[in-house]
């Protein structure tokens, strides 16, 4: 995966919000959808976009598709994800996304 592709993936607000949540580990589409309060299509498309470019990997378990950051993705991704963490603390939207994710997770499991 080349650097330009990596930055293109990062250069979209929805994808940044998704990646912010994926710092927490593997998540399925509906969890992301709920936490970000966005449409299913939008989620699926952005996840597909990043997977296609090697940023994410997915694993299907029953009806659910779990996405996570590709552990062998570009090293620059890890650095930016880490920086995103400290940025998220100061950013209202990213912070409340995380908060909502925790609520979503604490509710009934996807299964």
């Amino acid at each position: 995966m080349d650097l330009v592709t990596l930055y293109k993936c990062l250069g979209d607000p929805t994808r940044l919000r998704i990646l912010n949540l994926l710092r927490e580990g593997s998540l399925c589409v509906c969890q992301l959808q709920e936490a970000l309060d966005e449409s299913q299509v939008k989620m699926s498309k952005h996840l597909g976009y990043m997977k296609k470019r090697g940023l994410l990997v997915s694993e299907r378990i029953a009806n659910w598709n779990y996405y996570k950051i590709n552990p062998v993705a570009h090293p620059m991704l890890k650095a930016n994800m880490k920086a995103l963490g400290s940025f998220a603390a100061k950013d209202d939207e990213l912070a409340s996304d995380l908060k909502r994710l925790r609520e979503v997770k604490s509710q009934a499991d996807c299964s």
Copy 2:
């Protein structure tokens, strides 16, 4: 300047090549143009794109317009520029861009 905008700026091959050279400090359009062997319009447009978004600042001196990285740009930019440095050492194109820049600089001054 927001994070998404920053990443959009980084998500283009020509702009990454420009930024790689601007790590060396302030450069005028014709120096960049020569070092990257690209058209004047292309250079000017990408520089304008980044300036408009707060990534670069410029200073006109006589006929020449010198661009440099905005010292007060997003902190994430600095981190990525630094990382770009180590990446450039391994990347053929970025490395030869730097080489050519040094040739350009060693030649007659712009003035």
